[in-house]
């Protein structure tokens, strides 16, 4: 009986999964499927015109590049360490193959795990650096690994490399053809994973963090942790490619995993398209064509092709970057959409449904913050009750924004304590506070330039999710899908609250300033907060926008939200606030109920 119930449940889950896949199936997915199919039959169609070992090397290169796409495309981090990760996977797998009798696949997996370990360490080291420093740091790591391989012959096998024994692969004779098909299948799976991650909470959070770190942090996106995960995942895939490629090559070659490999992988990703799942693979094909061009040039000049290849690759990269970064695959997709626009997604969504409201009181006691000899905040206490708006007013430099930053966790207080209900928040990070129910919007109306309005709101819902982890996202478990539907409904409800439901599928960059302000309020609401901290929402707003904002705040009060409003516009304060706190030189100068009330 229980087996029957399990079978029924599994059947239902599979049907749901198929239905979900069908719903999200696009023309790009069809094209990708055809591409993988063609790649699988390529050795048979080409009839040996391209050697199978060259094809297999290309397939593993594409796998490593697709792995790098995780880092570059999702996290927006220009890693130049992928060659080092491939090398780590290769040499660890080679040593395990030589020293043990473990199956070939397991050896490759061990290599991948070792690379993921190095990737985690690298990700931890660069987790909070900007792009330029990440590039420099990872470039140094690549050099470090290359130098280590050169300096340690016991590790690298010296000039002759580390010869590895050949072992059956998934029960098959490990011919170059078997390696090629395995490489294609793994690249396809990795690309599929990339698509799943990009659409899921992990990808949206990373996209948000890469487009505006401050705004993402305010919404509780754990950017640094996500970056470390992206690095580790990217390194894992690179290491797997290395661990398998070394079995194809039958030798771990210390000269093969130098900085040039890292550079070429990054070129492949950027040229093919970092954000497109098959962009890196297309980039690898382009590199293959470049090597042929280099060979032709070399023959003309009477020198080795290796002297031209990096030069041509660099030229191509320059061309892509200087022409606005339009990589091959994104450009092709854009061109295709001119003829066949993508159908609107919002129409497919379930009806909006707001999450159950959380009613908690925020209490801050004697908050203090000093910058050197200057007391920015000095003994500020406040209490935000559910269903009320408290306005924080005062001249510039009075400490209003500092109070917001102390409350949200962006700055640690020198003194004082913060409680939400019975939970003390004082030592919690911003992300932890957002999960606890305290969220903040920023003053400068930041937004995530490449996300749609709906995706902005989804970033907020990610803080409320329990089953949105990387692994669940990759395998799209029933719990994940069920939670996804709820998250989409909540995101849609948040957009309705701020009057942006009709704009759900528009790029956020097309919104007006006031629209962006409301969008970030919606994203904050999507975190299902008990307390909302808003920094100057009316700045630069037209009269009709002010009316809209007033209506929004009134509705949020009715919903039971506790709101702290930092505002210069006293008319707006009078219209929406229940209590006004005036700050002067970091102290509360007055604490009055709204005179209008």
């Amino acid at each position: 009986m229980s087996a029957q119930a399990t079978a029924v449940r599994t059947g239902t889950a599979v049907r749901e999964a198929v239905a979900t896949a069908r719903q999200s199936w696009t023309d790009s997915a069809t094209a990708a499927g055809v591409a993988v199919g063609l790649a699988v039959i390529a050795p048979f169609v080409l009839g040996g015109l391209i050697a199978n070992d060259s094809l297999a090397s290309g397939a593993y290169l594409a796998l490593a590049a697709t792995g790098l796409g995780l880092c570059v495309g999702l996290a927006g981090v220009p890693s130049l360490a992928q060659g080092a990760f491939v090398g780590t996977g290769a040499f660890v797998a080679a040593h395990v193959l030589r020293d043990t009798q473990l199956p070939a696949e397991l050896c490759a997996l061990i290599g991948a795990i070792a690379a993921a370990g190095l990737g985690t360490a690298a990700g931890f080291a660069v987790r909070s650096l900007d792009s330029v420093r990440v590039a420099v740091g990872t470039w140094l790591l690549t050099w470090l690994v290359a130098l280590a391989l050169g300096a340690l012959p016991w590790l690298s096998g010296g000039a002759q490399g580390l010869v590895v024994p050949t072992r059956r692969l998934f029960g098959l004779n490990p011919t170059p053809l078997v390696h090629y098909e395995l490489g294609v299948v793994l690249t396809g799976l990795c690309a599929l994973g990339l698509v799943a991650l990009r659409r899921g909470p992990f990808g949206l959070d990373l996209a948000a963090a890469s487009q505006h770190r401050g705004a993402a942090a305010a919404l509780g996106v754990p950017m640094e942790r996500l970056r470390v995960v992206a690095f580790a995942a990217s390194a894992f895939v690179g290491g797997l490619a290395g661990g398998l490629a070394v079995q194809l090559d039958i030798v771990a070659d210390p000269t093969a995993y130098g900085p040039l490999l890292s550079f070429e992988l990054l070129v492949a990703v950027l040229v093919g398209g970092a954000a497109a799942a098959f962009g890196p693979s297309v980039g690898v094909i382009v590199l293959g064509l470049i090597s042929l061009a280099a060979r032709a040039l070399g023959a003309l000049a009477g020198v080795s092709a290796s002297r031209f290849q990096p030069m041509l690759e660099a030229l191509l990269l320059l061309a892509v970057l200087t022409t606005g970064g339009y990589a091959f695959v994104p450009a092709a997709i854009r061109a295709a959409r001119r003829f066949r626009p993508a159908p609107p997604r919002a129409s497919r969504r379930t009806a909006a449904a707001a999450p159950p409201s959380r009613r908690e009181t925020l209490r801050a006691h004697d908050l203090a913050k000093h910058f050197g000899a200057v007391s920015a905040v000095d003994g500020v206490s406040l209490e935000l009750q559910p269903g009320t708006v408290t306005a924080l007013v005062g001249p510039n430099g009075s400490g209003k924004t500092t109070v917001l930053r102390l409350l949200s966790g962006a700055l640690p207080p020198d003194d004082g304590a913060i409680y939400l209900g019975r939970q003390e928040l004082t030592s919690l990070t911003t992300a932890e506070r957002v999960r606890a129910g305290l969220v903040r919007t920023l003053q400068s109306r930041p937004f995530f330039g490449e996300l749609s309005v709906f995706e902005h709101a989804l970033v907020g819902t990610n803080r409320t999710r329990r089953y949105g982890g990387t692994v669940r996202t990759l395998v799209s478990t029933p719990l994940f899908r069920a939670e996804n539907r709820i998250a989409e409904a909540h995101a849609f409800a948040a957009l309705e609250t701020v009057g942006l439901a009709r704009e759900a599928d528009r790029p956020a960059s097309e919104l007006t300033g006031s629209g962006r302000e409301r969008l970030m309020i919606a994203a904050a609401l999507a975190t299902n907060p008990a307390v909302l901290l808003v920094d100057e929402p009316s700045a630069g707003a037209a009269p009709e926008d002010l009316e809209l904002l007033k209506a929004i705040f009134t509705r949020l009060k009715t919903d039971g939200l506790a709101i702290l409003l930092v505002e210069h516009n006293l008319a707006f304060v009078r219209a929406v606030a229940d209590q006004v706190l005036a700050l002067e030189l970091g102290r509360v100068a007055s604490r009055e109920p709204n005179p209008r009330l």
Binding site: L49, G157, A159, Q160, D249, V251, L289, L292, S304
Partner: protein, 407 residues
């Protein structure tokens, strides 16, 4: 998708131009693949490539017949860029193209010999002398025609120890240097009193004065340097610029034109530099070598060193080109003995045939010995005025004539 298909089709069209031979020509072609570091070490790569090409052209000028068929030799040059993985890829290509033999500098042989042996394809090493590369029992398809590290090290020990010198053994940190260091350790194992110091030279250092000073402080009265040409040149500069006129001994790296080019401003610093190498002439006298050298220069021109001796340009004799040249002649003999290009038969025949080499020496292998240059063929030469001549204080070398190195 269409773009991907186009790319694949384009790749296939380009790939067709990469040396695919028809089945008709296969049967009458002896394909010799040269897998050498043409891009990373052009001097070595071209020396090996030219040696093979010269032999192939000379054989093609005659008619090579075997088993009733006529054969033409075709040479395919592949660049291994000193990368073992590239060497594996090149070997796979050689097998796909039905190569009869592979001639290499030695890069990646640890990985490639098994691949080649699966099709009974012989590999000839024409440059590297590392121990372990050649072993007729475990690697039946690997042959070498080049001085071995073992031979060079023991001949150097044999030559230097009677001079009662206190020798500082300097090896650079490259694989070449480290393999030499191991060979020297073996050669001097029973002669510890002759060794004043064992020093590693960092290849990447711009100045080796600290290492040379360390050797001087050890009480050394001679330096034996086993290093690539750049590190050797820097060692000489460090010693001579410090006013230390210690005798310096080295390996075939000493005759690399790079050393003399680096010291062109101080020709006297090169004077006295002594190196060990495979002899260019044999008991038959210099005539065979002169014939080979003339043919080489006719085909490829002279290799100028870039310095002058007594006002005349110095050329580098193509001594390392004679090794691949000799192997190709041996291969042709093996094909004739095997009456065709059946790989297993050719491989077996290589253990039986012999020819006269470019220097007049008898070249050949047998089932127990795949070394084409015996240790006794290592001689010593000393530089004077940018050219070298065999030394007079070694029994073998003293019998050898000087090879003309100016034009």
């Amino acid at each position: 998708m269409r773009a991907t298909a186009t790319v694949l089709v384009a790749l296939s069209f380009v790939a067709t131009g990469c040396g695919h031979s028809s089945s008709a020509s296969k049967q009458q072609t002896i394909l010799v693949v040269v897998d050498a570091p043409f891009s990373q070490s052009p001097y070595i790569g071209n020396t090996i490539g030219n040696g093979v090409r010269l032999a192939a052209e000379q054989l093609n000028a005659q008619t090579l017949s075997a088993g009733g068929a006529n054969y033409r030799l075709r040479v395919l040059r592949l660049d291994n860029a000193l990368s073992p993985a590239k060497a594996v890829a090149d070997t796979r290509r050689a097998l796909r193209e039905h190569a009869t033999a592979i001639v290499t500098d030695g890069t990646g042989v640890d990985a490639t010999w098994r691949l080649a042996n699966s099709k009974h394809i012989p590999i000839c090493i024409a440059y590297q002398g590392g121990g372990g590369l050649v072993n007729p029992q475990t690697r039946p398809n690997v042959f070498r025609i080049a001085p071995t590290d073992h031979g060079l090290a023991f001949r150097l020990a044999e030559y230097l120890v009677p001079k009662r010198l206190k020798i500082a053994l300097l090896a650079d940190d490259s694989d070449y240097g480290q393999e030499g260091k191991a060979a020297l350790a073996d050669a001097f194992r029973t002669l510890p009193k002759s060794v004043a110091a064992r020093i590693t030279l960092p290849s990447s250092a711009s100045d080796l004065a600290p290492q040379v000073l360390q050797a001087r402080r050890s009480g050394a009265t001679a330096l034996l340097v086993w290093a690539q040409a750049p590190a050797l040149a820097k060692t000489i500069v460090a010693a001579r610029s410090a006013g230390w006129s210690v005798p310096i001994y080295t390996t075939p790296a000493g005759e690399d034109p790079f050393v003399r080019q680096q010291l062109a401003d101080h020709p006297s610093w090169v004077d006295g530099l002594t190196f060990a190498s495979g002899r260019m002439t044999a008991e038959l006298g210099p005539a065979p070598w002169a014939t080979f050298e003339a043919a080489y220069e006719t085909a490829f021109g002279t290799t100028t060193v870039g310095v002058k001796s007594h006002g005349r340009p110095v050329i580098a004799p193509p001594d390392y080109a004679m090794y691949p040249y000799d192997f190709v002649n041996l291969l042709a003999a093996a094909v004739q003995q095997a009456k065709g290009t059946n790989p297993a038969k050719v491989l077996a025949a290589l253990n039986q045939v012999s020819t006269h080499g470019a220097n007049g020496d008898e070249r050949g292998f047998n089932e127990r010995n795949h070394e084409g240059v015996v240790d006794d063929d290592v001689y010593f030469a000393r530089f004077s005025h940018m050219v070298f001549r065999p030394v007079r204080d070694d029994p073998l070398s003293s019998t050898l004539p000087q090879i003309n190195q100016v034009r």
